[in-house]
Amino acid sequence: MKALRNLLDKQKPLFAEGGKYGKFHYLFEAAETFMFVPAHTAPAKGVQVRDAIDLKRYMMTVVIAILPTLFFGMWNVGHQHYLATGEQADFLTKFLLGAKLTLPIVIVAYTAGGIVEVIFAIMRKHAINEGFLVTGILIPLIMPVTIPLWQVALATVFAVLLAKEVFGGTGMNVLNVAMTARAFLYFAYPTEISGNIWTYLPEGSKTVDGYSGATALSILNEASAAAVDAQSGALKALEASWYPDLFSFKSMFLGTIPGCIGETSTLMCLIGAAILIATGVGNWKIIFSVFAGAWVMGLLLNVLASSGIGNAFMGVPAHYHLVMGGLAFGAVYMATDPVSASQTETGKWFYGALIGIFTVLIRVFNPAYPEGIMLAVLLMNVFAPLIDFFVVDANKKRRLKRATV
């Protein structure tokens, strides 16, 4: 490693201020610090020893926790393709097809976002931040595999620019960057991100009889619009899909269903959650309360449905809400974003629970948006400071009460 160190030391003056490539100082620094933890020592006054962790490690732990969903997603992309075409394929074939389709999206997202990051770092004269390590992998995972690459690039640039950099960069953003990318596409190019676009079917490919690319949520949405019996009609519509057991609870839990690349498998999300919680990076209170909020809201709607009120979607068993769509993915990787989530520990309970509640409400009552978690997270991102305000205000009041002056 000494040779590499020497090489870097040799190039360093070129990238220093006033050097030939002085403008790219932060780009060089990012590469250098990625390879070598710098020799910075604690200042003369203050804490003389420091914890071994840094933000790179912290963010990398999140990336590691995301990997199960990425790998499963790659396989599922292939699996869904061969399911729709009715062809037989082994595990590796499915995985490789998925990888071939997914990796370009990952690369485009990292490159597009990375360029924006670098430009801002150079403009603002600050170090390139590690936050993008996570955003860059989250964006591809909440996209359908059929998404045009230019849209991925556009959404990433939009999200990094408008959801993060205008606020001052990582640590200052109000909205979850990855969710903003998806919301952008949702409203700007709805045809590519909603409807029957979830399965990779290249032009000219044949599908099995009765094939439909709809997701569980859109089937339920249609069922409720068609005024099916509130008690069990919606569930029957779900069971009667073109492939046996496609939308059974088990399939939805395992993730062998059509959907965005990384968000179909609740099981993989739970593995990710376990990694995040074990390493202390993800907040368990938020993850738990999103699930709890959604489940309780689902139960409440079940009760209403059983008394004959409302639409068919309300009758879907509450636990189905936890495995359908992107709820698990959103709860584990999006809601726990430490910057845009509630900052106080008490606030995190409310923040998570409200995301769960709103997700189910949007799913059930909003015919335009079959998926609720995206909007719920963004909505609560905006309200997180308000939740914190009330929590902190209570603390301030306690202090004020004791005061004598």
């Binding site: 490693m1 590499l4 160190r5 610090t33 390879m35 070598f36 933890v37 710098p38 020799a39 910075h40 020592t41 604690a42 200042p43 003369a44 006054k45 203050g46 804490v47 003389q48 020893v49 420091r50 914890d51 071994a52 962790i53 840094d54 933000l55 790179k56 490690r57 912290y58 990398m60 732990t61 170090a127 931040n129 590690e130 001052g168 960069g169 990582t170 640590g171 200052m172 074990a278 390493t279 202390g280 990076v281 907040n283 430490p338 910057v339 989530a341 900052q343 106080t344 520990e345 995190k348 914190d388 902190v392 603390n395 301030k396 202090r399 004020l400 004791r402 005061a403 004598t404 002056v405």
Partner: protein, 454 residues
Amino acid sequence: MSKTVKLNRGLDIKLVGKAEKRIAESPQPDTFAIRTADFIGLKRSKSLVNEGDIVKAGTPLFYDKKNEKIKFPSPVSGEVVEVLRGEKRKLLQIKILADKKIEYLEFPKYSASQIESLSRESVLDALTTSGVWINFIQRPFAIVANPNDTPKHIFISAFDSSPLAPDYSFIFQGEESYFLTGLNVLKKLTPGKVHLNIKGDAESSSAVEKATGIQVNKFYGPHPAGNVGIQIHHISPINKGDTVWTLTPYGVIQIGKLFAEGRYDASKIVALAGSEVKSPAYYRTYTGANIKNIVANNIKGTNVRYISGNVLTGEKIAADGYLGFYHNMITVIPEGNYSEFLGWITPDPKKYSFHKAFGLFSFLSPNKEYVLDTNLHGEERPFVQTGAMEKVLPMDIYPVLLLKAILANDYDGMEALGIYEVAEEDFALCEFIDVSKNDIQAMIREGINMIQQS
């Protein structure tokens, strides 16, 4: 009513190199220095001595122009060899070449019954004239107390919970009677109580048992349980407009010696600790000692950092630097000036982390002692992580929000979020565990300065 407080939040950083409980011999340092920078809040100091002057232990070296009653005395007798000044002739340090045998300036002596009958004014007068006054630290702001104030209470933390901290029961043994005399003096100064805060799971010393008229509180839990700021927060929190005074047991003993013996006695036992010390032990010396003789031939390498004080709140000094006024220990640890290939991601059981994301299995060996160096292990970043600092700050305070209020110059926010209750040392663990590597103690001081001047 005594209180028992159990703290769950905090962190004991276990380091290699705890001082062995023995007094090691070393030649007494030749020079001693009093640095103005040790006294936070002291802005305008005026020297009372010139180079070449002969002083005794207790002779005032300089005073505070803001409050001329506050004098800073010489710890030893000898010749003033240097009056070091900085920009705009600001006084930085006064160095004294010590006599072989220390001579003391004589102050009046008092018997126990005389102390009983002394008025508050005469006690204050004795404390300020002799210079022992600078042991009084005022909260809020953690600065040298103003003798014109009347404190709500006086707090003494009788234990130090910081890493490698000297054992108070060892360094203050044999001084119990002075400690009791000191406590009796303190009782005169406040209409409230004198709170003596002791470690819950340690044997209480005879001095604590004999003390009367004071409140003894027990504290259980990890560091920073020994920080007086944390103790105040749990016993009688500071509000806007309140003033409390705090002292270390060393200060109480020094006051006791002044009243019982009539002298300003700056002798102290200091611990020499840390992984780079060959045989860590205790040494007998005086406040402001030059550490050269103490560390001589006892250090393992050359690339080391000498710290006056502990690793959390101490200050880097040179190998022939001087012990800080309020410090009871010298810590020597390896300097971390190396760059490490992929150090941020490669697992390394030698490194220590509070966060499980780095030391996932460190909980399996909770008593393992670590060798930590001064490497920052990363670069400065904006605040990203939430909820971690709360785990090491046992106060009803939102640390990150307070820090953000300081960064935003939000005076009302700082006040409401508890700036009056904190000092740098209380946030030292937050600085240690901070993933974003901010200099949090410096930020806190900046906030305190801002609110003090507002």
